[in-house]
């Protein structure tokens, strides 16, 4: 009979939450959304100046869009924000017009079309872009510098482009031993009775009682990347009621309760970071605030439970990890021909912006002075939750930055969690299968 009665100590890593800029904003919704574009352009302009100098030197003059018609440069460089004019882009005016039509419009989940056009805008002027720019790979809100010439009539022929690219990255810290971080998303507790055995298996595995205690004891942290309560919105049932408020169903309340008990099991064993997702009880627009602790009375008693924001930026022993619950990646996939979430993540790093489609098609807070979605420094790990399948890739920035991209699959469909080894940034899934 085993004489071990004491708990086995788990590996720990020094944790720092670097998401202050996503949690601190005043509740002022009186400002217009154009301010965030102005702030974005202003901040990116400084970064793009460096890139322009690095790529083209001083060969070409940098010109403002509203002065293009006045000057007669053969070639020049212009800086601005891309606007993608899409016929199929959802519009409230179209919805109102459609309401009067007899034939129902098809529900689209992809809004690209052959007729999509690109425009470059700055504070004062707008030019239509022609040339070598790939319309299918770009979305609205990307700030870039373009080399080309003015064709007149408000058109600019593009020959080359440069983006802000990855920011400087601190050197990756050295880990003597394996330290794991487990990522999981879309637990969908509203339907958890269908896969409760998989959830309990996951919790039991964390105890270290399934035989691989050596590996489990090196798990320092668990990150739950959103949609823990549900993964889809409730269908709106049209009623004659004049109120638009939808009360929370009892199912959601019970799901939150069950999730609280589950978090209690996890919090007793390991540090847990819970991010809100698109369908979780948090504010809808980005950045999403941490879910309130009052919803988790059982588990919030433990210090190991952290309610964090979405996007979420933290460091473990100096290694920086940044991620979202997947809304920006989903939006990029909807409004471009990018299908692989890893390509979307890589594009975000290249554009130096984690949510370029905000606030055009992705709801966000009307920031005025600063755009918080601009990356200030390059992370070592960049993840997106609630994806259809797992994917991972190591990318290299223009200055040698190495970033591990992770696409976290939905647990409710795949029963997979992702294990990241901080020592070598190795990443793989772990299946919790209870199929008969």
């Amino acid at each position: 009979m085993s004489q071990e009665t004491e708990n086995i100590e788990r590996t720990t890593a020094e944790y720092k939450n670097l998401s202050e800029k996503f949690t601190t904003q005043c509740a002022d919704y009186n400002r217009q959304y154009c301010s965030i574009y102005l702030a974005r352009l202003k901040e990116m302009e400084a970064l793009l100046m460096e890139r322009i100098t690095k790529k083209w030197g001083d060969r070409f003059p940098i010109c403002k869009l509203h002065k293009l018609a006045e000057v007669s440069y053969d070639k020049c460089v212009v800086i601005g924000t891309i606007f993608k004019d899409q016929k199929l882009k959802p519009s409230i005016l179209k919805q109102l017009a459609e309401a009067n039509q007899l034939t129902p419009q098809p529900v689209l989940h992809h809004f690209t079309d052959e007729t999509d056009r690109l425009f470059l805008e700055d504070e004062l002027q707008r030019y239509q872009l022609l040339g070598t720019l790939d319309v299918k790979k770009l979305v609205t809100g990307v700030t870039c510098a373009l080399l080309g010439s003015d064709m007149g009539n408000g058109k600019f022929m593009v020959e080359d482009c440069v983006f802000a690219d990855c920011r400087p990255q601190i050197e990756k810290p050295i880990f003597n031993e394996d330290v794991f971080v487990v990522f999981v998303s879309a637990m969908n507790f509203i339907k958890h009775e269908n896969f409760i055995s998989n959830l309990e298996l996951f919790a039991y595995w964390l105890c270290g009682m399934v035989g691989d205690g050596d590996t489990v004891s090196r798990i320092a942290r668990i990150v739950i990347a959103g949609n823990s309560i549900k993964t889809t919105t409730e269908k709106h049932i049209p009623t004659i009621s004049l109120t638009s408020r939808v009360t929370e169903s009892t199912e959601t309340i019970e799901a939150v309760k069950s999730f609280d008990y589950f978090l209690l099991q996890l919090s007793e064993l390991v540090d847990v970071d819970v991010m809100p997702g698109e369908h979780d009880p948090s504010n809808h627009i980005l950045p999403q605030k941490p879910m309130h602790y009052c919803m988790f009375p059982k588990s919030s008693v433990y210090k190991s439970l952290n309610q964090v924001s979405n996007p979420y930026f933290f460091s473990l022993d100096g290694l920086k990890i940044f991620g979202t619950s997947g809304q920006p990646v989903r939006d990029i996939k909807w409004f471009s021909e990018v299908t692989d979430p890893l390509d979307a993540l890589e594009s975000c790093l290249k554009w130096n912006h984690i949510a370029p489609t905000a606030p055009d098609t992705l709801g966000c807070f009307p920031y005025y002075e600063k755009d918080p979605f601009i990356l200030d420094d390059c992370p070592h790990v960049f993840f997106a939750g609630n994806q259809e399948e797992f994917g991972t890739r190591m990318v290299t920035g223009s200055d040698g930055q190495k970033i591990r991209l992770i696409s976290i699959p939905e647990f409710c469909n795949t029963f997979q969690a992702v294990m990241l080894n901080l020592k070598d940034l190795g990443c793989d899934t772990i299946d919790f299968d209870t199929s008969k």
Partner: protein, 445 residues
Amino acid sequence: MDTASEELYYQKIQELVQDDDKIVTVPSLASILGVSLQDSRSLISKYVEDQRKLKADEFAVTYILSGTFKDNGKRGVLLVKEDNLEKKRNLLNNNHHEVVYSIQKNKDVDFNIIALVDMFNATNIKDTALRGSVVGKNCVKRVLKFKKLPAPPPPTVKGKSSVFAAKAETSASTEKTTTAPKTESKSKPAAGIADLFKAAASKPKGGKNPVPIKQNKPVKSGSLTGFLTNATPKLLKAVSSSESDREANDLKAASSSKDTSLKNNISNIIDVDSEEEFVEVKKVVEPLKKVEAVKKNRKQENKKNSSKRQRDKSKEVPSKKRKRIIERRDSDSDDLFEKEEDTSDIIERSDEETERAPSPVVRKPLPPKNKRRKAVTRTYEDEEGFVVTKTEYIYETASEDESENVEPKACNDKKEEKPAPKQKAPEKKKLAKNQATLMSFFKKK
């Protein structure tokens, strides 16, 4: 673990599985027996081995396999039935781990039901994780600090008259439940008004016996008793003295002897049933001219609907020495209260609005024939030395046309005052300083 304990645990497992027909999992058994997870797992393993030797298919067992898959090299944790154990073993590499997870008597194994056992176990909140678990350093409970909140303020009864407010304050001072003050406030003012009418019904002779309620009630602003108790101690003594009749007569004589100037200064009529109250009111009228503090308590006079309470003079018995105080509800505001703060007026007027229902109806006195009220602007210096310009109403011989203009105006003003009791002081009329009003009974002190 010694043999005796082991034997006890085996018996417990036997009891749970065979007798109670329960599903026993490693975590649930550890929780029930209070042993570590390793010991629990060992107990179940050994129990299964022993029972297999005796009875082969007496129960169903589930296992957990963990390792890497042969095909893709990925990690996997599998919960399998005993029947599929061999099949699942072949999916994993040879270096996989295999541990028993649960045991049950029923051969029909449902993984969701097995998981519910641990889920329900999780609802029994423990202080710490199960013994033998891999636990992080930070997995400790927070130290909760309970903040002692200050006592809530006494509830204010809104929508009630000053009479009710008088009762509510006394009850709130005890800092008991909120219901208590309400019930008390409801009962006491009702008692107060009931006493008022009781006294009127009994009609004691000569007003010898003052209404006891006035003496016993605490000093409350706006209340009937408060009006009287807020008076100077001298007045209180005078009220309770046996010379009340003589003073009442004196007052009546004084009032009757006064010319229209007194009447002109009177702007409120309080039709009170009990002559004792009238007596006491009369006593207070004159001193009130001098005492400014008493003036401030009559904030509600103008807003009382004097038209509801109107006594027919012909029915008056001269011996009772009643004095009418006409309440003006139009723009003829009570000058006496023009200086008073508006905020308190707002509260008290609103209180008076709801209180009008139980109060007796005060009818507006019919103006004398061939005489009409006329608005006259008068400028004078008040007691504090300020020059005050106020609009007063005096009776003058007027034509019929003028009277028609005045009356509708008065009616309109009444209507304006009713929905908007919060109108500011400029609209008030100056009341004679020595003129008590019905509303003054219901004002806050």
